[in-house]
Symmetry: C2
Subunit: 274 residues, 2 copies
């Protein structure tokens, strides 16, 4: 009998045509909201799992780290899978899976990890990026990868507000109600705002995130950048512990899961221009 081996995968995808990474479980506190119908649109996990099963020749369970929402992209999603197929060289496995994947999904890396590694439990921190196209005119090329904001945004004010989010806080105001988690206390390790030409990028790094947390942070920072709130208002919003206190939820198409750091295997950073 062969001893099974566990592989860690880092996966990039353009989320535009997928129903997120994985079908969402219904949280206990979902409170009557109607679940979206998937309309036959597949999840990224389903597509990658099908390619992997074909290459490995047996059923598998592909466990992902982040359940990215419908339309959200990833540069470095993390997943693990177990197999008895230990004879395939990892680069051969990676290329065979990529050959079976559509053009908008890519397995970046495959590496063997100890069976104690888990894409869910070994996650130490992760970073998201949110891309805003800040110009009077929309971009005809990047519309599905950015959020178009016409009003000029004050990057300095946004940076000041972003600094107030760093640290350990109760982020109840920055979470979609019905998130199904007991505590709404989270730690933000970094929150940065950079801009080059019409492109404005917000980076948020944390140990863990609540449902829609990054998109609500972005929606709030954009309100600050547009002058509708002073930067200091963010502290008042945090203190309120009420979703209605913070800004709107930014749309999914500007959001990228940039990388996930794990306790065992170190960071999986992916360059910005990838």
């Amino acid at each position: 009998m062969t001893t099974p081996v566990r592989y860690k995968f880092t996966i990039a995808y353009r989320g535009t045509h997928y129903h997120g990474w994985q079908k969402q479980a219904v949280p206990a506190s979902y409170e009557g909201e109607i679940l979206p119908d998937h309309d036959g649109i597949p999840t990224v996990q389903e597509i990658v799992a099908r390619a992997l099963m074909h290459v490995l020749g047996h059923p598998i369970n592909l466990v992902g780290s982040s359940r990215t929402d419908s339309g959200v992209h990833a540069k470095g999603q993390l997943a693990h899978v177990d197999t008895d197929q230990t004879q395939i060289p990892v680069e051969g496995l990676r290329q065979a899976v990529n050959a079976r994947l559509p053009a908008d999904i890519l397995v970046r890396t495959v590496e063997p990890v100890p069976m104690t590694f888990s894409a869910v439990r070994s996650t130490a921190s992760k970073r998201y990026q949110y891309a805003i196209w800040n110009a009077l005119d929309r971009s005809p090329f990047l519309g599905e990868l950015t959020w178009h904001r016409r009003q000029p945004l004050d990057v300095k004010a946004m940076r000041e507000a972003a600094r107030l989010l760093v640290g350990t806080h109760d982020f109840a105001s920055f979470a979609k109600p019905g998130h199904g988690r007991e505590s709404t206390v989270r730690t933000i390790l970094d929150c940065s705002v950079s801009s080059r030409g019409p492109m404005l990028v917000i980076g948020v790094e944390g140990k863990g995130f609540l449902w829609n947390m990054v998109r609500i942070i972005v929606g709030t920072l954009v309100e600050v950048g547009a002058g509708r709130h002073p930067p200091a208002a963010v502290s008042t919003m945090l203190a309120a512990r009420d979703r209605r206190a913070a800004g709107p939820t930014a749309p999914p198409q500007g959001l990228f899961l940039q990388w996930i750091k794990t306790r065992e295997a170190g960071a999986v950073p992916v360059p910005l221009n990838a």
Copy 2:
């Protein structure tokens, strides 16, 4: 009676979902090739003309400068249109048309021009860009805007070959047969190759181009970059005056019509990152 006014438009579009700028006229020498069925996919010209008619309130004839092929993009297509509606401020007209256009088409500029101006006849020169994603792995984000070439390309060799194309030559080897033009002599003003990370961009500027000429130039330069021909082979290819002498035709999705210079109105340059 109002005197009609002529407007010059510069238009950007992502060509992915369109059947090119305009339905192609069948050249006299099409020689039995079967015309592609449009399958109900609209052209960019049809979509922009419909939006313009709605805003102006009368039938119009939108005349474009370059008949970009299916799947080819534009940062600065040029067009003109006549109207009796002279009371609409140009910026108001521009924004009203943009509000009626899909997210992947944008009117960048509108300006009144003399009735002697013609998007076709006033063209002095134009520049195309071709984007190549040169890396082992495809880009899950830019697949519809680049041509993926896995083999590392020698930029220096490509530049050397590019230089040999500059000037006035018979480009019969670099044109799709059946182009329906009498002379295959054209003047290339500039042919440059630049690279940053995995992105390689070929720029080609000329007074006029034959059918598929830029895509055949790109296909040929890529063969030189891959070491299949020495740079000097380009001169032999030109001298052959035979399509079979040059390299393959690069696919449409990496091609952008960057700008068009006109005799009357000067250049319409659009920044690379737009």
